[in-house]
């Protein structure tokens, strides 16, 4: 039983880890918790759906279009809305992401209706692979692999490419980075684009598992945040670990305590972690200077 639970936990955790990573990389740059992350990904998934069903394109093309759209949506959201605020206080920034998410939610409902739709996907959620006593769907295996590879790519990008390193420098110290010739504004926009793409991959992996409708990413958004809080909102690696941890904890809870209240676990974890270690398990705390 336990290995089975761990396997499901890992698969769910992959989605949470992706969402957490997407949330954390923008949070690190701008200190904005992007509540629109989920719905940006949801709309992008609908774009893929539109290409697959209305225009009957192939999977690769449809997903490619969705990811490009996601990137532009992220860059646009930052450049056209967040950056143009008159009073970018923390409160106002949060509210802006909320307003945007509501508009996206409404847009999706307006365009595609609130019905639950079957999302075509090249990998089946019903086919099962067996590893000893553990049986796991091909979709779950694919989810674990794709998420793992993508996150690895993101870390390689930030650690080893010239652009990535420059971006990290800007995140840590915008003024110093500007002196070194890194245009801070471009970096912020790029960060939102990348994070939107990561979120969209999570959405494309979620849609075939459940069904596609405008509430697609609500749960994943909350879990992504819970994971990020668990690992530390400032620490990408921590947030990813938090995602896997949350997936496993949640499935353990579902298996041994109660299936109905599985979703409440995320909330409890947020509260408990914040109570005992407000900066997350792997994060550091900063003091304000006066």
């Amino acid at each position: 039983m336990l290995p089975q639970v761990l396997a499901s936990g890992l698969s769910a955790g992959s989605i949470y880890a992706l969402m957490a990573l997407a949330l954390v990389i923008t949070y690190k740059t701008t200190e904005v918790p992007n509540f629109a992350q989920g719905d940006m990904a949801m709309v992008s998934a609908f774009i893929a759906y539109m290409f697959l069903t209305d225009f009957e394109t192939g999977f690769i093309f449809a997903f490619g279009v969705a990811l490009v759209f996601a990137f532009l949506l992220g860059v646009g959201f930052e450049g056209l809305l967040l950056r143009r605020m008159r009073k970018p206080t923390h409160l106002n920034l949060i509210i802006m992401t909320l307003g945007f998410t509501l508009a996206l939610f409404g847009f999706a409902g307006w365009k595609w209706g609130a019905d639950q739709r079957h999302f075509p996907f090249p990998i089946s959620a019903n086919e099962v692979i067996r590893f000893g006593s553990v049986s796991i769907s091909t979709l779950s295996v694919a989810t674990i692999l794709i998420a793992g590879i993508l996150m690895l790519l993101v870390f390689v990008f930030f650690r080893f490419t010239k652009l990535g390193v420059a971006m990290q420098a800007t995140q840590q110290d915008p003024i110093a980075a500007r002196i070194n010739g890194v245009p801070a504004r471009a970096v912020v926009g790029l960060t939102f684009g990348i994070s939107s793409v990561i979120g969209t991959v999570a959405a494309l992996l979620t849609a075939p598992l459940i069904t596609l409708d405008p509430t697609l990413m609500w749960d994943a958004l909350l879990k992504g945040f819970a994971a990020a809080v668990l690992g530390g909102l400032n620490t990408p690696v921590g947030a990813v670990l938090g995602g896997y941890l949350l997936g496993v904890i949640e499935n353990l809870f579902g298996a041994y305590v109660s299936v109905e209240f599985k979703s409440v676990v995320a909330f409890l974890i947020i509260v408990i972690v914040l109570w005992f270690k407000p900066s997350g398990l792997f994060g550091r705390h900063h003091e304000r200077k006066v």
Binding site: L91, G113, D115, V271
Partner: protein, 363 residues
């Protein structure tokens, strides 16, 4: 020296100018006669807007005054509604008492949710409230006690010997309570506790060095805000006659935030106006189609580019855009626009803006 006989009560009294009594009486006359003038089905809309106004007052205390974001107020609305209904059905508690209890129980949960707020700033708190709102509906939807997904029917309510049967009798109860609560929140805002709330959003550090126990007041503001929202929940149950978890969604919580942002954070008048507008919008999501010229145009547009079945969702787009543009153009919302308009008219009347040379006797 300068104003030896200043009456300091002037600062905090409700009616500063002579005309304000007349305004109040006018407002009361309008409120009392409104349901008699409007067609019956509109009274339901009015009740709905009044319930939103109460939530708006609560959101204003929390978000507007202390600057803490809540994305889970639909949860408090649910707690209030279910508390009242369960007390009435299971324990035969009379409606007025059950409504008061709805406020207290909700306040208690607000206090609990406020506890983590002791240690959490901005993003963390918003995340915790998001989780709270979703958890509440989850629990309700999966518990037999709460009627699960099917929901609960609200029993008939009476106030003393008077049955609250029609929308009109409910109107007087709901609007009466809304009026009293608005007055109470206004009084709170000009006295010690309200001032401490507002200080927290301006500067927590300064507030603390004035002796304000920031953690306590943050929690307290959660409790006050939740109490108001709980009462609103009870009244919502009263007016709709039926409650189910599907009512208390994440988007409703966002709507609650939208109304205080749109109206103007920190202003009671703003919160009331914003809530009236958004309450109407939320109930009449399809009202856009009935607009004279825009309605058909919108329908045509939907048919060509969007979808007609999805048209009711257009309201969410509008709500979201209202938030986005409020924050972009005037972060203080309707109230801020009003203040700006006043300022421009004042400035055109006098050019006395030199404040630095404030010599004695100048006033």
């Amino acid at each position: 020296m300068i104003e030896p006989t200043r009456d300091h009560y002037q600062d905090i009294r409700l009616f500063t100018a002579r005309g304000s009594w007349i305004k109040l009486i006018l407002l009361l006359v309008v409120l009392v006669s409104l349901p008699l003038l409007l067609p019956g089905y509109r009274v339901f809309t009015l009740n709905y807007m009044a319930v939103f106004v109460i939530v708006g007052l609560g959101m204003n205390v929390l978000v507007g005054y202390t600057g803490q974001v809540s994305l889970g107020h639909a949860g408090f609305l649910a707690i209030g509604a279910y508390t009242m209904v369960l007390l009435m059905t299971r324990l035969a508690v009379p409606f007025p008492l059950a409504l008061v209890m709805a406020g207290f129980v909700s306040a208690f949960f607000g206090f609990l949710l406020g506890l983590p707020a002791l240690r959490l700033a901005g993003p963390y708190l918003a995340i915790a409230t998001l989780g709270f709102g979703l958890a509440v509906t989850q629990i309700i939807a999966h518990s037999a006690l709460f009627g699960g997904h099917m929901g609960l029917v609200v029993p008939d309510a009476t106030v003393g010997p008077f049955p609250l049967s029609g929308d009109v009798s409910k109107y007087y109860v709901i609007v009466g309570i809304t009026f009293v609560l608005a007055l109470g929140v206004r009084n709170l805002s000009v006295t010690r506790v309200g001032r401490a709330f507002r200080a927290i959003s301006d500067s927590e550090i300064a507030a603390a060095t004035m002796g304000v126990d920031v953690a306590y007041y943050k929690t307290l503001s959660f409790a006050v805000s939740a109490a108001l929202t709980g009462v609103a929940g009870g009244l919502l149950a009263l007016m709709t006659g039926f409650i189910s978890p599907g009512v208390f969604t994440f988007t409703l919580s966002l709507m609650f935030l939208a109304m205080v942002v749109f109206g103007g954070l920190g202003s009671i008048t703003g919160a009331v106006l914003g809530s009236i507008v958004m309450g109407y919008l939320n109930l009449e999501m399809d009202a856009f189609q009935e607009l004279p010229v825009l309605g058909p145009a919108l329908e045509g547009f939907s048919e060509r580019f969007m979808s007609t079945v999805g048209l009711p969702n257009f309201g969410w787009v509008v709500t979201g855009m209202l938030i986005v543009f409020t924050i972009l153009i005037e972060p203080r919302g309707l109230y801020g626009l009003w203040i700006r308009a006043l300022d421009t008219t004042k400035r055109s009347k006098s050019t006395d803006a030199d404040l630095s040379r404030s010599g004695p006797g100048a006033d």
